[in-house]
Symmetry: C2
Subunit: 134 residues, 2 copies
């Protein structure tokens, strides 16, 4: 998702057929504005900074909806470590194991070729995660 301000977030949600409720806008805006990959819990904390504004359930619902509508990408970096990435363009990831931080790798930096697609199957996503230590 690309959205520089809350109005743009509202438009992006509407365009994807998602009612832009205040909670969803807060969540999407927060995810966009931090140029990191955030976990559901980090988003919950971030959105509820001053005072509780959004419930846990809504954060999960909203994130799942955004993933389903293709506005956000879900990334699994390690067992129990799910991150959400507002960048849906093709690109890959590097995971700093010791710090638990996940960063982007531009698509050009990694070449993936010759993916075999079985009959009748459709590639949903190709995840390339480079796990580095140190």
């Amino acid at each position: 998702m690309y959205a520089s301000d809350k109005k743009a977030v509202v438009d992006a949600l509407r365009m994807a057929g998602v009612s832009p409720t205040s909670q969803r806008v807060e969540i999407a805006y927060h995810l966009y504005n931090r140029q990191e990959h955030l976990s559901a819990d980090q988003i919950l904390e971030g959105v509820n900074g001053d005072y509780p504004a959004v419930s846990r359930g809504t954060v999960y619902n909203a994130l799942n909806l955004l993933v389903e509508k293709g506005l956000v990408r879900e990334l699994i970096a390690a067992p129990g470590k799910v991150f959400y990435d507002p960048n849906t363009h093709p690109h890959h990831h590097i995971f700093y194991v010791d710090q638990g931080v996940l960063m982007d790798l531009p698509a050009e930096m990694v070449q993936v070729k010759n993916i075999p697609v079985p009959e009748g199957c459709e590639i949903e996503q190709i995840d390339v995660v480079v796990r580095v230590r140190g």
Copy 2:
């Protein structure tokens, strides 16, 4: 890990500096002998087929130890879906989302190039998971 019989498993464990307790041997042997990717739970069930022989905690401890010692590879296919792979040679994976099944892709079938390694970091593993639907 490559081990055709229990004696070979014992040797492999010893070589990696892991005391070959009977439970660990059972677990490693079971994982090797099924040419699938198994979850911790499937391994627990499999090892305890006839009568309870190994506790849940031990299965998790043993698997984590084997991963740490490089005898087994840990694969994350989806949130909450962790599989263990006795094949530690370079290769990739294809995940059939609808069936929840993870299969090998020979390394030659996917070319990954130009991985940038940050200063002072060491690549631990490169995970390529092709997620297909249908």
